[in-house]
Amino acid sequence: MLKNLRERMSPTDIVMWSIGGLLLVLIVWGSASTIVKGTYSARHWVDFVIFGLAQGSVYALIAMGYTMVYGVLRMINFAHSEVFMSGPYTAYFFAAYFHRSGLLESHPVISLVLVFIVSMATSTLIAVLLERIAYRPLRGAPRLVPLITAIGASFFLQYVFRGLYGSGFQAYPVVTALEGHFSLGPIRVLKFQALVIVAAGLLMVALYQFTQRTRLGKALRSVSEDKEASALMGIDVDRMISMTFMIGGAAAGAAGVLYAIMFKQVHFFMGFIPGIKAFTAAVLGGIGNIPGAMLGGIFLGLVESVGPSLFLDGLGIVAPYQLKDAIAFTMLVLVLIFRPSGILGERLAVTKA
C-alpha cells in the first residue's frame, strides 16, 4: 500500500501536498484562535458576510463575460475590465443629470432603470465593437496573439475614456432611497447592499435560464462546445460569438452600475482590480462554466471579506485587511494546482488548455 502510494507520488507532488497541508493547518489555527479571542461579535461576522455577498455578486456578473468568452474563443479577454468601466462611466453623466433635475429623488426607480439601461447599452456596444475590430480577424492565430491584442485594446480603451471624460474621480450621486437599512429579525442589511445582491441575483438567474432554455442559448452552448460542428448544424458561428460578447458586455455594464452604487465613484481605471478579481472568480469556478463563474464570484467575495479577519487576525498579523488580495490570489494558485478544473470543473482544463 505504501509502496503503491510512493509510486504514484512524485517528489514535487509531495512538496505541493505538504505546502497545501501547512496552509490548511495555518487557516484552521488562525480561525480557531480568532474565534477564541472573540475580537469580533456575531454582528460583525454577519456584516462581513453580507458585504462579501454583495461584492461577490458583482464579481460574479463580471466573471460571466470572461467565462463565456473563454468558453467560445479560448482566450482571456483582458479588455473585459474596460468593458466593465465604460458602462457606469458613461451612465454617470445621466445619473448626475437626474440628480440635478431632481428625478433621482422623485422617481428613483425610473431613473435607476434608465441609468442601468444606458450603462448596459454602452458596455454592450464596446464589447461588440471590440470583438468585431480587434478579435475577429485573429481567429485561428496562435494563442498569444489575441492575448496581446486584448492587452493593447485594454490600454487603448482606458485612455480613450480618460480622454473623453477626464481623468478625475467622479462621485456617483447618492440615491436617497437606498440609504439606511432593513432589519430582518436580528440581521441588519444596508439597503444598497440588498439592491446589489438582489439585482445581481436576478440577472444571473435570467442569464442562466437564457443559456439553458432558449434556442439561442442552446446555440451559444453548442458553439462553445464545437465551432465546426455547430457551423455544420446551421448555426452562424460569427453571430453567436458576437452574441457572447453582447451578453458578457451587458452583464458587465449592469455590474458596473452596482459597483458604482456600492463604492460611490467612477474613474477610468476602475475596471482593473475588479477585472482581475472577476477573472480569478471565473477560474475558481471552472473557466468556461457559467454557473461556476457565479459560484466562484460569490465564493471569492466571501473569502475576501471574511478571510482577513478570520484566518489572519488570529495569527497575529498586523493590518490583515491589506492582505485580502493576497488571500484571493493564493486561493487562485491553490485551486489551479490542486483542482485546475475549478470548483464546478469542466474537463477542458486538461484537454484543451
Partner: protein
C-alpha cells in the same frame, strides 16, 4: 449588401470609419494637445499633422480597395473618403457650436473648434476650408497611389521624416548643437518651434533623394556583398561589429543626459526581455508573474546594501551574487507548483504569484523587514575603485555589460542541447517527453535561468534608482515585458532589443504627451498584432509557422449558412 454599396460609392464606408476616428481624436483631446507644437513653423502644427496623416491613411486605403484600376474611379474614391471624413468633422463642429458638450466631453472646448475651423472668424469659411482640405487630401493621396513605386516610396519616406524630425525637435536640436561645426545645421533646420520652412524643404528633398537612391541601388549592393570572397566578407563583418561596438561605447556621450536615461530604461527592459525570452520564447512557458523575480533581485540588493534597514552593509558587487542566486532559487520554487500546468493556466498561476509577492512586500505585516509602502532608500551605487555608476551615462555601461553577458549566455544556450530541449518542449510537450527529455528538469532550468536574469536586472535597477518601492513592481511590468518580446518577435534575441526600443524607448521620448502615451501604445499593440503578428524582427522558423497557420486555418464560419437559430 455592403459590397454593392461600396461599389456604388467607393470610399464611402472607409470615409465613415475614418471620420469616426477623426472625431474621436478631436474629442479625446489629442488634436488640441498636440497643437501646441508646430511641425513646420507657421505652416502646420502637430495637431493638424495628426488629422492629415490619419485622413491620408484612410484615403490611401480607400484608393487601394477600389475595384477598378483606372485613374478616374481611384481618384474619385480618394476624394469621396476625404470629403466624408471632413464632413463628419464639420458635423462635430456644428454640434459643438450649438450645444455645450463640455459637461460630458471635457475636451470639446471652444479652442478646439477654433482650431478645427482654421481660426476663421466666419464659421462658414472655416467649414468650406475644412471640406476643401478633405477633398484635397483625398485627391493627393489618390495621385500618390498612381505614381511609380520608387517615387511613391521616396515621397512617403520624405513626408514621414518631416513629421518625425518635427516631433522630436527638442531632442534632435540640442544634440546637433553639440556637434561643433555641424551646429549651424540645427539653426538652419529648426526655428524656435518646429522646423523652419526652408529646413523642411531641404530635409524633405535630402531624405526623399536618399531613399530613392537607396531603393534603386539596394539590390545591386546586396548582390555585391553576396558575391564577395569569404575572406573579405569576414573582414566586412568584423568591421561592422567593431563599428557597432564603438558606437555603443560613445553613444551616451554623443546623446546627452536625457537620452542616456532613456537608454538605461531600454537597457533594463532588454535585460528583462532576454530573460523572459528564455522562458516564453524558447521554452514556451507563458509567465505573467515575471516581475516577481525583478522585485526579488531589487529587494535583495536593497536589504543587503541599504544602511536604512541596518541588517547588512555589503557593497553592490558583494550583494549581486546573492540577488541572482535568490532569483534562481525563487524561480525554481515558483516553478515547482506550476510544472503540470499549460498555456493559459500557467499564465494565470504565475500572474497570481507575482501579485502575491507584491502584496506581501506592500503589507504592514512584513514592514520591519521589507519597508512596506515606503520602500527602502539609500541603496549604494555600484563602484569600481573610485568610479561610481551614478548618473545615467555611467549606469548605461553597467547595463551594456549586463546585456552583453546575458545576450551571450542566452545565445550560447539557444544552440545547446538544453536550448534544443526547450524548443522541442515549446513545440509539443508530449512528444518531447517521448523523445526522452526530462520535462521537470528542463522546465525548472528555464524558470531558473529566466529568473536569474530578471534578478540581475532588478539588482541593477535598485542601484540605479537608489531606492525601491513595491509600486515599481506591479503586474503591468510583466505585461510590458511580454509585449516587448511578442512585438520584437517571439524567441528572437535581436527582436527583444528592437521591441524594447519600440515599446519602451519611443514612449519615453514622447513623455510630454504622457496622457496619450498609453493610448498610442495600446492602439499600436492591436495594430501590430493584426498586421504583423510575427513581430518586428522574427525568427525565420517562427515567421513561417505563423503565416502557415493563419493561411491554412479555415475561418470557422466560412461555410455556415446565414440562417440564425431561434
Amino acid at each position: 449588401m455592403t459590397a454593392t454599396r461600396t461599389q456604388r460609392l467607393p470610399g464611402f464606408r472607409l470615409g465613415v470609419i475614418g471620420g469616426v476616428c477623426l472625431v474621436l481624436l478631436a474629442l479625446i483631446g489629442m488634436v488640441y494637445a498636440f497643437n501646441q507644437r508646430e511641425i513646420v513653423s507657421g505652416v502646420i502644427s502637430m495637431g493638424q499633422t495628426l488629422l492629415v496623416f490619419t485622413s491620408a491613411f484612410i484615403a490611401y486605403m480607400a484608393v487601394k480597395r477600389t475595384p477598378s484600376r483606372s485613374a478616374g474611379p481611384m481618384l474619385a474614391a480618394g476624394v469621396t473618403a476625404g470629403l466624408v471624413m471632413a464632413a463628419m468633422l464639420v458635423l462635430l463642429i456644428l454640434l459643438g457650436k450649438t450645444v455645450n458638450m463640455r459637461q460630458v466631453f471635457i475636451n470639446a472646448s471652444p479652442a478646439l473648434f477654433n482650431l478645427l475651423l482654421f481660426y476663421q472668424e466666419n464659421i462658414w469659411t472655416g467649414i468650406g476650408l475644412m471640406l476643401l482640405s478633405g477633398a484635397l487630401i483625398g485627391l493627393l493621396t489618390g495621385l500618390l497611389f498612381l505614381v511609380p513605386n520608387l517615387w511613391r516610396h521616396a515621397l512617403i519616406t520624405g513626408i514621414c521624416s518631416l513629421a518625425v524630425v518635427g516631433m522630436l525637435q527638442d531632442l534632435i536640436a540640442p544634440i546637433i548643437g553639440t556637434w561643433g561645426p555641424l551646429a549651424v545645421l540645427a539653426d538652419w533646420l529648426f526655428s524656435g518651434n518646429g522646423l523652419s520652412p526652408g529646413g523642411a524643404v531641404g530635409l524633405f528633398c535630402a531624405v526623399a533623394a536618399a531613399t530613392a537612391i537607396w531603393s534603386a541601388k539596394r539590390q545591386a549592393v546586396g548582390r555585391r556583398v553576396q558575391a564577395m570572397q569569404p575572406g573579405p566578407k569576414r573582414n566586412l563583418k568584423l568591421a561592422a561589429i567593431l563599428a557597432a561596438a564603438v558606437v555603443l561605447l560613445i553613444l551616451p556621450h554623443a546623446l546627452g543626459l536625457f537620452l542616456s536615461e532613456v537608454m538605461t530604461i531600454v537597457g533594463l527592459y532588454v535585460l528583462l526581455g532576454l530573460g523572459l525570452n528564455i522562458v516564453v520564447g524558447f521554452a514556451g512557458l507563458l509567465d505573467l508573474g515575471y516581475v516577481a523575480f525583478f522585485a526579488i533581485g531589487s529587494y535583495t540588493v536593497a536589504i543587503l546594501t541599504s544602511p536604512e534597514l541596518g541588517f547588512f552593509s555589503l557593497t553592490f558587487w558583494q550583494a549581486l551574487p546573492f540577488a541572482v542566486l535568490l532569483g534562481i532559487i525563487a524561480g525554481v520554487m515558483l516553478g515547482i507548483p506550476v510544472l503540470k500546468m499549460r498555456g493559459d493556466y500557467l499564465a494565470i498561476a504565475t500572474l497570481g504569484f507575482g501579485e502575491i509577492i507584491r502584496i506581501l512586500v506592500l503589507s504592514d505585516a512584513l514592514r520591519p523587514w521589507l519597508g512596506g509602502a515606503q520602500g527602502i532608500g539609500k541603496i549604494t551605487k555600484a563602484r569600481i575603485g573610485d568610479f561610481e555608476f551614478a548618473s545615467p551615462q555611467e549606469v548605461y555601461y553597467l547595463l551594456l555589460a549586463g546585456c552583453i553577458l546575458v545576450g551571450f549566455i542566452s545565445w550560447r544556450l539557444r544552440d545547446s542541447r538544453l536550448g534544443r530541449a526547450w524548443m522541442a518542449m515549446r513545440e509539443d510537450e508530449d512528444v518531447a517527453q517521448a523523445m526522452g527529455i526530462n520535462l521537470v528538469a528542463t522546465k525548472l532550468l528555464a524558470f531558473a535561468t529566466g529568473a536569474g536574469f530578471s534578478a540581475l536586472s532588478g539588482a541593477i535597477f535598485a542601484s540605479k534608482i537608489g531606492s525601491v518601492y513595491p509600486h515599481s513592481f506591479n503586474v503591468m511590468i510583466s505585461i510590458n515585458i511580454i509585449c516587448v518580446i511578442i512585438v520584437g518577435g517571439m524567441g528572437s534575441m535581436p527582436g527583444v532589443v528592437v521591441g524594447a526600443i519600440a515599446l519602451v524607448g519611443l514612449p519615453e521620448l514622447l513623455r510630454e504627451f504622457a496622457e496619450y502615451r498609453l493610448l498610442v501604445y495600446g492602439a499600436a499593440l492591436v495594430a501590430m498584432m493584426l498586421l504583423k503578428p510575427e513581430g518586428l524582427w522574427p525568427e525565420a522558423t517562427h515567421k513561417r509557422e505563423l503565416h502557415d497557420a493563419m493561411e491554412t486555418a479555415p475561418p470557422p464560419a466560412a461555410g455556415a449558412p446565414a440562417a440564425p437559430p431561434g
